[in-house]
């Protein structure tokens, strides 16, 4: 099969993309795939940059009717406060800067993950033991906080004190590295 882009070299890479439920096939040689920025899993020589940035730019308000720059039309910059990476930069490089970027850019990530992972946005695989244990405790604390709030609103102070102690113990567990089972 010849590469559908240059029609010269053998197609070495075969992509299927599902976009809005429509299947799209591509057969490219490595050079053309590289030019198009198609990602080849298991290889680091190429990247998904262009593919992603195409998608991400699409999302940004472009072609505004007023062509001259006005302050009001500048979209609010999303920036990860942990590593300083802006969403714009992420869109360009196709790489997150730190684990907090996932939180910082969360509202914009679903469409990207959907496209890259055949419509999926949620993890359905392994939960690591320690991180998983700590997550459970954190979730427990979250629940107890709500309970505490509830008791305080109802002026059930004795109950509230009990819940507060539980939260304190759980927080201590996390600090002592329990849940690191």
């Amino acid at each position: 099969m010849l590469c559908e882009e240059c029609q010269q070299r053998q197609a070495a890479l075969h992509f299927t993309k599902i976009i809005n439920g429509k299947k799209e096939e591509m057969h490219l040689c490595e050079e053309c795939a590289r030019d198009k920025g198609e990602h080849i899993p298991g290889s680091n020589s190429y990247s998904i940059h262009d593919l992603l940035s195409g998608l991400l730019n699409f999302e940004q308000p472009m072609g505004n009717s007023d062509s001259y720059p006005s302050r009001a039309s500048v979209p609010k910059q999303l920036v990860c406060e942990s590593c300083g990476l802006s969403y714009e930069r992420f869109a360009k490089t196709g790489r997150f800067g730190c684990s907090n970027c996932y939180k910082a850019f969360d509202p914009k990530l679903d469409p990207i993950f959907k496209r890259v992972h055949s419509g999926n946005v949620r993890h359905a695989g392994k939960v690591p033991k320690r991180a998983g244990g700590r997550l459970q405790i954190k979730n427990q604390i979250e629940k107890l906080r709500k309970e505490l709030q509830h008791h305080i609103e109802k002026e059930e102070f004795e109950e509230a004190a009990k819940v507060r102690d539980k939260i304190r113990d759980l927080n201590k567990d996390i600090q002592d590295g329990k849940g690191d089972v």
Partner: protein
């Protein structure tokens, strides 16, 4: 210490014990996990200091004891290796080109038999890879999972309930897992069936690519089948889907081989022995031709047309005749023309050894 061995031998010890399950078609199975640590910026944005700290911390944690039955891991730091030594490790698939060329404070931890490689400061903080000979997806999954747990006892992973293991690139998030199977599919290529099968494979979220060759085609009829999707499916399901497709490819390749043997045995024999003749007699050989001829001879071995030569010769010579290894043997840099001469000599020598031994 064993740096010399990692560098000088083309065949990793794990490959040596003969072909694995379905070894006439599946050369090797690999599972790779991408992991990052909490509280450290990812390598691509990390400062020199942060990358250095992460390397020191993680390599210390991972070498203070060893995974059961594995022995201690050997640490090789990229900035302590020569460019050609790094190239050789890339050619053996022990490290990635990214780690060799672009990483900041990059390093790799290698098990003694080279079946396990843990890259540090690659695109992600940790890239764990397990290699098995033949078709051994389950074994790879069990080992990579066990090693993953072992690592997680020592360092804290960046993990999120909703998105799973957080990775630098959105294409790896979730399981962070890439499972791949390296297959030799000469009969499907010869009968032009592979091109018809590929779209169906892609539809299942799997990717097929050639392994060797700088530009266009799959040299040596060697293909890598791997999962593209890492989010929204469990590790077991990903491996199960891959297994199903690989089983079908194995079956199709066997049919195609039988068919060729039935309808055009003499032509195939002719092709195989011509290639054998070229490999044993040529004085100049380009890598592309070497790959084609080696693939023919390997097919001849698998179909019992040629006796007394180990099937390993394909894997071994594919690795051994790449530029890094040729230069390693020569002990100096070589021009492409010089490499072609050395390649031919090395293959002749190796074929002679096989026939005598």
């Amino acid at each position: 210490m064993s740096l010399q061995r990692f560098i000088s031998e083309a065949i990793s010890p794990w490959m040596k014990s003969g072909p694995g399950p379905e070894g006439d078609i599946v050369l090797s199975t690999r599972i790779r996990l991408a992991r990052n640590l909490e509280h450290y910026p990812f390598p691509i944005v990390a400062s020199d200091e942060s990358a250095n700290t992460m390397l020191h911390y993680t390599s210390k944690e991972l070498t203070k004891d060893s995974y059961p039955q594995m022995g201690s891991l050997e640490l090789l730091k990229m900035n302590e290796l020569s460019p050609n030594q790094k190239r050789v490790l890339v050619e053996k698939h022990l490290i990635s080109p990214h780690l060799a060329e672009k990483s900041l404070h990059g390093a790799v931890l290698l098990s003694d038999d080279e079946s396990v490689s843990i890259m540090l400061n690659e695109e992600d903080h940790i890239r764990l890879q397990c290699l098995f000979r033949g078709f051994q997806l389950n074994e790879s999954l069990v080992l990579s999972n066990g090693l993953d747990d072992w690592i997680e006892e020592k360092v804290t992973y960046a993990f999120d309930e909703k998105r799973g293991f957080l990775t630098s690139c959105p294409t790896n998030v979730g399981t962070g897992m890439r499972a791949s199977v390296m297959m030799h599919l000469p009969a499907l290529v010869m009968t032009q069936q592979l091109n018809r099968i590929l779209p169906a494979i892609n539809q299942l979220g799997l990717v097929v690519r050639g392994i060797y060759g700088e530009g266009s085609e799959a040299l040596g009829n060697l293909f890598q089948i791997s999962n593209q999707m890492t989010l929204g499916k469990s590790e077991e399901d990903i491996v199960e889907d891959l297994r199903g497709v690989v089983m079908q490819l194995i079956q199709q390749e066997r049919y195609a081989r039988d068919e060729i043997m039935r309808t055009s045995k003499i032509q195939l024999e002719d092709k195989v022995f011509r290639s054998f003749g070229l490999l044993t007699n040529s004085r100049i050989m380009e890598s592309k031709e070497a790959a084609e001829r080696l693939s023919d001879v390997r097919l001849g071995i698998d179909l019992d047309l040629i006796q007394g030569i180990s099937g390993n010769i394909l894997n071994e010579l594919m690795i051994l005749t790449q530029p890094g290894f040729l230069q390693q043997y020569a002990g100096k840099g070589l021009t492409p023309d010089e490499r072609d001469v050395r390649r031919a000599a090395l293959i002749r020598e190796r074929m002679k050894l096989e026939r005598e031994g």
